[in-house]
């Protein structure tokens, strides 16, 4: 068992250091797997890049899901822009931006930060306040910790610093880790007490229908679940730390938390792939069943649920359709299975990043589709467009906003974050939505005929990996 001393520093080490995370690659999956098997994984960089989510963006998404909490974004106004989206959705708590000026980025702004924390507390009395660091604050090293120390005592409220920077890692998944690092370090620790009967369902930024589906399946096995941290309050952390086990809905997001709960509080972490597709969902339920000694119930549950949607799968709605997938690895690799279960073929794959958590699934991809390359890039639409022009898929499943570019090539896109994707309900929704995209392509045709991609003609004649280079150390 580890102790908090094993989690030194105010922020977690970068995903590159901890998990050999790679954010730029195009080539055979086999070659990259070989690097993971060897002494060192080479880091690549881009000589041309397009804007991509960072740790700050992801942290704001995760934090917006917690109940009875407030968020202070310590930075200039623009660092809080995406928080508006969560604000305009339901359930998001109050937030302030410290609105740093040039002078304050040089001289420091801790008095302003104090005033902001006090104002948020006075207005809304949240049970916890998160102070989220931004690139300018990370550069000038503003003293957030002393504000946290003083004000948590003075106001009697839990205040958590989240040390995001926008540049510490090239993987935005670092944002999950930064949030959870802060949880394990700064939230009240549970007193040594008996194990509870519940399990942790680790949920962060999933959609409401996805969470409901996962909760439904766990409940069907007769287990109580604490969904954490989404929809939970910070004091639920001590319950999470005494649960029977943790089961992630998305281990790209929940890995740091699950592992820390295991290391620090002996809560076993079931590191299973997302419950996407028939086999994926079966495995997810089976893993839980096995851990709880409910193997038979898990099998029965799957048999019953699978029978109820057998007609969807048997109709093979994607038969003969070549599909390109672009998403975070835990999602994308699950969706590949689902596409094949629905009769489709894989045309290509882009993942936002790759790290040690996905090697098994990537090996399976390589085995199944030996001729295909693996592309790693988050938000790098220019590379995807180049690949799409060559591969000519008939359907594009993507989670980035650049999916519109696929449409401009005449490839019908389906926006993944909009769909329920988990469990049996996810299979049905996926078949339904992809079916619509394929059935009427009238808008797509007019769009493809009218729209002009922003790229020079010369770019599409180049190799898509033209701007990916080995990093010079």
């Amino acid at each position: 068992m580890s102790t908090l001393n094993d989690y030194p520093g105010r922020a977690p080490a970068s995903r590159e250091k901890r998990l050999d995370s790679v954010s730029a690659y195009l080539g055979e999956a086999r070659a990259l797997l070989k690097e993971y098997g060897g002494a060192e994984v080479d880091q690549r960089i881009r000589t041309f890049s397009q804007s991509a989510p960072d740790d700050l963006f992801v942290a704001l998404e995760v934090l917006s899901g917690l109940r009875d909490t407030g968020v202070i974004i310590h930075g200039p106004r623009g660092c809080a822009a995406s928080r508006l989206r969560q604000s305009l959705a339901e359930h998001a708590g109050p937030w302030l931006v410290t609105n740093l000026t040039q002078r304050e980025t040089i001289m420091g702004a801790d008095s302003k930060l104090r005033a902001a924390v006090a104002a948020l507390y006075r207005r809304y009395r949240p049970k916890a306040i998160f102070i989220v660091a931004t690139p300018p604050v990370a550069i000038n090293n503003d003293d957030i910790l002393s504000v946290v120390g003083e004000l948590s005592e003075e106001l009697g409220v839990v205040i958590l610093p989240i040390f995001t920077s926008g540049f510490a890692s090239k993987s935005s998944a670092q944002g999950y880790d930064a949030v959870f690092h802060s949880f394990i370090k700064y939230l009240p620790q549970p007193a040594a007490e008996a194990r509870g009967e519940w399990i942790n369902l680790l949920a962060t930024t999933e959609s409401e229908p996805d969470r409901r589906e996962a909760q439904r399946l766990v409940a069907a096995l007769g287990v109580d679940a604490l969904t954490f941290p989404h929809g939970a309050a910070v004091e639920d952390f001590s319950r999470a730390a005494t649960a029977r086990l943790s089961l992630p809905l998305d281990f790209d997001a929940g890995h740091y938390l699950g592992e820390a709960l295991q290391n620090l509080h002996c809560v076993p972490f079931l590191q299973v792939p997302r419950p996407i597709g028939l086999a994926g969902t079966r495995n997810w339920i089976a893993a839980l069943g096995q851990a709880l000694g409910k193997e038979a119930q898990a099998r029965e549950l799957h048999a019953k649920e699978a029978a109820a949607i057998a007609h969807v799968v048997e109709a093979a709605p994607l038969r003969g359709v070549r599909v390109y997938v672009s998403a975070a690895p835990a999602t994308a690799l699950g969706v590949l299975d689902l596409i094949q279960e629905l009769g489709g073929e894989i045309a290509g794959l882009t993942v936002t990043h790759l790290d040690r958590l996905h090697l098994e699934a990537v090996a399976k991809y390589q085995e199944r589709s030996p001729a295909l390359q693996l592309h790693i890039g988050n938000g790098q639409g220019f590379e995807e467009i180049n690949l799409l022009k060559r591969l000519q898929p008939q359907l594009y499943i993507g989670s980035g906003v650049h999916l519109v570019q696929a449409a401009q090539l005449g490839i019908p896109p389906v926006f993944l974050p909009r769909l329920p994707i988990l469990g049996y309900a996810g299979i049905q929704a996926f078949a339904h939505e992809t079916g619509k995209a394929l059935r009427n392509q009238a808008f797509l045709s007019s769009l493809a005929a009218r729209a002009r991609l922003p790229y020079q003609e010369a770019w599409t004649r180049r190799s898509a990996d033209w701007h990916i280079k080995q990093e010079v150390k």
């Binding site: 804007s51 508006l84 550069i139």
Partner: protein
Amino acid sequence: MSTSYIERSRGSCALHGALATFGAIEGVVPVIHATSGCGVQYQQGVTQFGGAIPACAAWGNPLSSSNITEKHVVFGGGSRLREQLKNTIKLLQGDLYVVVTGCSTEMVGDDIPAMTKEGREQGWPVIYANTPGFRGSIHRGYELAVHALIEQLPGIPGPELPPEPGLVNLLGIIPQQDPFWQGHLLGLERIFEAAGLTANPLLGLGHGIDRWRRLPQAALTVVTSPWGRDGAQLLEEKYGTPWVELHGIPVGARATGALLDALAERLPVDAARLAAYRQTQESWFERNLVRIAPQYYAGGFQQEFALVGESGFVPGAAEFLVETLGLIPKLIVITDPLAEETRDAWAQPLQSLVDTFKAKLAFAEDAGEIDDLLRASHAELIIGSSLDRPVADELHASFLPVSFPVANRLVLNRGYAGYEGGLAFIEDLGSALLRGRSIKLI
């Protein structure tokens, strides 16, 4: 300018204002020199809620961005920018490339003017704007973008453009921070056209950098918000172009008529043509007012209202609501961060309306403060941003979102400027008032 903390800020930063402005000019390609998330925050937090999406900055087009990492923060990002700029020009089609900076690269001290100069020496059409978020709000970003174009575009070789007589530059409408920016520009264009003049809207559908190259040819600059002043002053300094300031866009027949009078005073217009146009438009406008009368009375249109929005819209809208539609003002909040002396100037034309109805006029951008003002107003109708909806629900008030951020509305060319704009405002307002009500017409 407010430098306090802001709850639920309804205005993003200077970088995002520059991106919104450059993105609304066809053929202009911004090159962001910043951490990777700056561009994403713009797309997720501004583009989505700014109503009309500029064709060339639509979601589907990821932004060129140097995505600096820890190494560049420590050792400087100059060489990374050089590489990104060179490759952007090779990769993305454009008539003009603009380097815009985020906080991180400004703090590190990368020399952007020098980098841009290098590019110019290679013959690249490239300019720059120092736009770190800490320089101010999205409005400041608009000013910086306009300033950069006026100052630096003449240094980029371009075609000879034949003069356009009666050309009037329009400044002060900020793309997306005004969700109806495209419609407002189109509305103003129609008004100028009726007066025999040609508007130079500078931004929006079909307008590229040639519109900016024509700036020196204009006979007049018309400014519709305090954020257009800086550009108008610079044009006056450089080219002697006179400028006039409107207190926001004109909404409806009265304000539009007044604008036409002002134009006729300053510029040679075809008086007979103008008079005929005004008569047709005013009579059409009035006929439509008559058409809404049954719903106006039976549906209870005469509401006590609160109006929350920016200086480029609120004065014209308030005047229209009160003096044409007969609604009762309770609260008017101007939310863009104006300088102290500008506040006074913008309060002045609203003063008589405020005094007559004992309404309250406030300048605030903190959402908590605005919530409190709205609660205290007991307004029956709230016209504001989607951030104000929860309080409208709490007060059981009718609600119409018109100010940034606007969620759950799709806007293309809709706008509230001019005669047609006034009618569009009535339609939207009436629909908001009638939502969920059944009217008994006997």
